[in-house]
């Protein structure tokens, strides 16, 4: 073996025989344990944190957005009704009209048609349907609408043979009624005159 080869062999042997410092294995295992502990803690925080809760958070946000949109639209609707009170009277015109029909059917048997119509034009506090629009509007209750021509005809037909109307229109009955009233008048004053005379005496 030449001198050069000896030198090379010696140098390579030094590389081959190099020994790590004592405790290398222990340090490596400690490092691994430390890494495992860190990863465990990180996983715990990830589990607790946003990563695993992201779908739930996204769903909650979506629900919250939908709720907010619903509340906003509700408030917007309310605000629109408040600023335009006439709109509700037009929108809820059906409800008062049906109420008028009820009133007419109740009142008409004792009153002639000429008397009923002005009464219907008075505002009534009729029970309204429990809707948000009707409850929140300042125009509540809505003013009654005038009867249509058909409604008037119906009223007249319904009250054609009322006894009072017949009395007013029949001359004989009217004369009998007037005679009865005159008799009652005279009788009243006759009684009173006799009593007055007796007291004076």
């Amino acid at each position: 073996m030449s001198d050069a080869e000896k030198k090379i062999a010696a140098a390579l042997a030094r590389l081959r025989e190099a020994e790590p410092s004592a405790g290398l294995e222990r340090r490596i295992l400690e490092g691994l344990a430390e890494r495992e502990r860190r990863v465990t803690v990180a996983r715990w925080y990830n589990w607790r944190g946003t990563r695993s809760w992201r779908p739930a958070i996204a769903l909650s946000l979506a629900c919250a957005l939908l709720l907010a949109a619903g509340v906003t639209s509700f408030l917007f609707e309310s605000g629109r009704i408040d600023s335009h009170p006439r709109t509700i009277s037009r929108q809820s015109a059906g409800a008062p009209q049906s109420a008028h029909h009820k009133i007419v059917s109740q009142v008409s048997p004792i009153q002639p048609p000429g008397v009923i119509l002005p009464v219907l034009r008075k505002p009534h506090h009729t029970p309204q349907p429990n809707t948000k629009d009707a409850a929140s509007g300042p125009g509540f209750p809505a003013p009654p609408l005038p009867l249509t021509e058909q409604e008037r005809l119906l009223l007249r037909l319904a009250h054609r043979n009322d006894p009072q109307v017949r009395t007013i229109l029949n001359p004989e009955q009217r004369a009998a009624e007037a005679a009865r009233a005159t008799e009652q008048f005279q009788q009243f004053f006759a009684i009173n005159a006799a009593e007055m005379r007796r007291q004076l005496e």
């Binding site: 050069a4 081959r16 490596i28 490092g31």
Partner: protein, 185 residues
């Protein structure tokens, strides 16, 4: 890392599931070999130890797929080798020269003999550093005498015959240069 595992990792469905690998046992078995591999490149004890620690951290990160590694020894050496090369690239040449031989000179020699020995080692290791990269890598891995040509070929990603040829050329070139250096001194 993927390239490191690329040739050594086998698909788990291709073979029966081997038993789980004990990391503590791996550390005990291979830490010295990996230290020498890293030290042959870095010539620094502390840096070589850092590399070994890094190797096992990477192993721990891939602990779930360890059972699919065909040749654990080659796989670990390859990781250590590549990490050591990465460390060396980040190192300045002056730093490398400074630590040259410091950890290699024998402590049991007399002072004058130790100095002479240190000079010889520096000269030879300097010549090794000046070898072409492929030859140098083959020479350093073969110097460990723990890896066969097939294992060196697997670590370096070459064929076995190429490793043999590179090793022959490296030794011849190094011998020639060391002889030249001796004559000039």
């Amino acid at each position: 890392m993927a390239s490191i595992e690329g040739c050594s990792l086998a698909l788990s469905f291709m073979e029966d599931a081997p038993p789980a690998v004990d990391l503590t046992e791996l550390v005990g078995t291979y830490s010295t070999l990996l230290f020498r591999v890293a030290n042959s490149v870095l010539r620094s004890r502390t840096e070589a130890e850092d590399v070994v620690q890094e190797v096992f951290l990477r192993v721990w990160e891939h602990r779930k797929s360890l059972s699919a590694v065909r040749d654990m020894r080659v796989w670990l050496v390859r990781i250590a080798w590549n990490l050591a090369l990465d460390h060396k690239r980040r190192k300045r040449p002056a730093q490398l020269e400074q630590t040259f031989g410091n950890s290699l000179a024998s402590a049991c020699l007399p002072a004058d003999a130790a100095i002479e020995e240190d000079q010889r080692l520096r000269a030879v290791l300097g010549e090794i550093e000046r070898l072409p990269k492929a030859e140098r890598h083959v020479l350093l891995l073969s110097a460990l005498e723990e890896l066969g040509n097939s294992e060196i070929a697997a670590v370096l990603g070459r064929t076995e015959s190429a490793v043999r040829a590179l090793l022959f050329r490296a030794r011849a070139r190094l011998r020639e240069r060391v002889e030249k250096g001796s004559k000039f001194r």
